[in-house]
Structures are given as C-alpha cells and as structure tokens.
Symmetry: C2
C-alpha cells in the first residue's frame, strides 16, 4: 500500500533525524556528522586515496576537498604521497585524529543505542538489508530521459 513517495519521505525524515541527532551529539566537540563519517572512513588501518574515501563515505570528490581542508587544518588528518601511483595521495588519521575519533565515537554511542530501543536486532538487520536493496536499485545510472518538450 505504501507509495514510492511515502518511502521517499520516510527515508528523508529518518535520515535527517539521525543526522541532526548526530550533529547535536558531536557539537560540543566541534565536529559535524559529515566530518565524523570521514573520520570513521579513515579510522581503519589502511590509508585511503581520495577516490576510495569518496566511495566509502558516499560523498563527491569535490565535496570532500573542503572537508579534508578543515580536518587537516585541525590536525586530525595527514596526507602522504602514494608509493606507486604518482598522481594519488594517501590520507590517514594523525595520532590526535585517532584520539579525537575515539572520543567522538563515545559521544555518539547514545545515538546508536537509541536505534535499538524501538528496533530490536532482527528488525535492524531487516532494515539494513532493505536499505541496501534500495541502494542497488538507485545506483543504476539514470536513464537519460529524452526531452519531450
């Protein structure tokens, strides 16, 4: 019975609620929810190229640039030349970046835990699975609509 538009709005409302709650939880640390996602993407053991970071965060390369500039200015990330590809650069967290990231993770713990208050584990699993199917439907490049007017 749900229409495509209802799904779209439900997704919008859910995402914005999460985004705002995360922003609020990290505001005292002076980090936005989007910056937190970037730091998360870099929190693994392996430094990433801009392209890899773009894929992992679902943010455009050009969008990531100003974000990286902010994080670099704050001393949370650093960049080094790629060992084999002269064009690429590898980005990673600094020591301070790792320290701050751990703090941010802790400060956002409450937001993640509240999800499970109304969504027991099996429902969370189902929701994640459905969202991923949704994404693979959306991922197809848009069929170029022939302008009919």
């Amino acid at each position: 019975m749900a229409t495509g538009h209802e799904l779209a709005m439900a997704l919008r409302v859910a995402y914005l609620a999460l985004h705002r709650r995360t922003d609020a939880a990290l505001a005292a640390d002076g980090v936005t929810a989007d910056q937190f996602v970037v730091l998360w993407a870099l929190s693994g053991a392996v430094p990433l190229t801009l392209g890899e970071l773009s894929e992992k965060t679902a943010a455009d390369r050009n969008t990531l640039r100003p974000m990286l500039a902010i994080l670099e200015r704050r001393g949370l990330i650093e960049r080094q030349p790629h060992p084999t590809d002269g064009r690429a650069r590898l980005t990673s967290l600094t020591g301070e970046g790792r320290r701050v990231y751990r703090k941010l993770w802790k400060h956002s713990e409450g937001v993640r835990q509240e999800m499970f208050a109304r969504l027991p584990e099996p429902d969370v699993d189902a929701l994640v699975a459905l969202l991923r199917r949704f994404v693979s439907a959306m991922d197809r490049p848009p069929a170029k609509a022939a302008p009919s007017g």
Copy 2:
C-alpha cells in the same frame, strides 16, 4: 548482526542516493529535491503556516525561509494573512506553482518507480514501517549528557 553504525551508514547511503537521483531528475526544471519537498507539502488543498510546513517537510523554520524566498521569487508560491491568527501567514501554491509541481511530479516518476524494481510492494511496506519506527526512536529529545570532562 548489524550494528548501529551499519544502520546509520546504510541510511546515509540510501538517502543520498535518492536525493541525488531526484536532484538530477529535476535539474532541467531548475528545482532542487529539497524545494520539491516543499512544493509537495503545499500541493494539498489547504494553505499552511510556516510551522505546519516545517513539520511536514522535516525542515527547520529558519531553513525554510530562504527556500520560500526562492520559490516566491519564481512565482511558485504566495502568502496571505492568517484569518484568525494575526501573527501567522498562510503559504500556498500559485496557479503557476501547481502547473510546475505537476511537471516536477511527472519528471520524478521514474525515480519512484525504480524503487519498486528491486523492492516489491511488500518490501516497500516493510521498509516504510521500519523507517517510521526508527524515526519515533530518534524523535525523543536527546538526553542532555552531563559533561564529564
């Protein structure tokens, strides 16, 4: 097995995919996905106050202001005094606004239809229901964390 963070990222990726696809579908009309949401909220029979619009679109009042300014400048919406509340103003679509909205709805039809390509109707229903439960979990005002450091 899915963690809170996996859910958060799945939600982010899904929403951004939808948002970009909608933006792309409406770019030729010079309208953003967010503006489309506002026009949709106003497409009913009843004019809305700023507060009602804010609730319906999940956007902050102060955020809506510049959006309304854009839409008003383009002649898509108009405002009139509230009949009984001297503070409030009622916003509605103009005739041109209704015409444009119908066009936008048509141009975004493909985006909505693709959802059902990988998500048959029962799954869409389930997804919407889960998203709404997610929202009611997030809607609770954040427990004010006592700064411990």
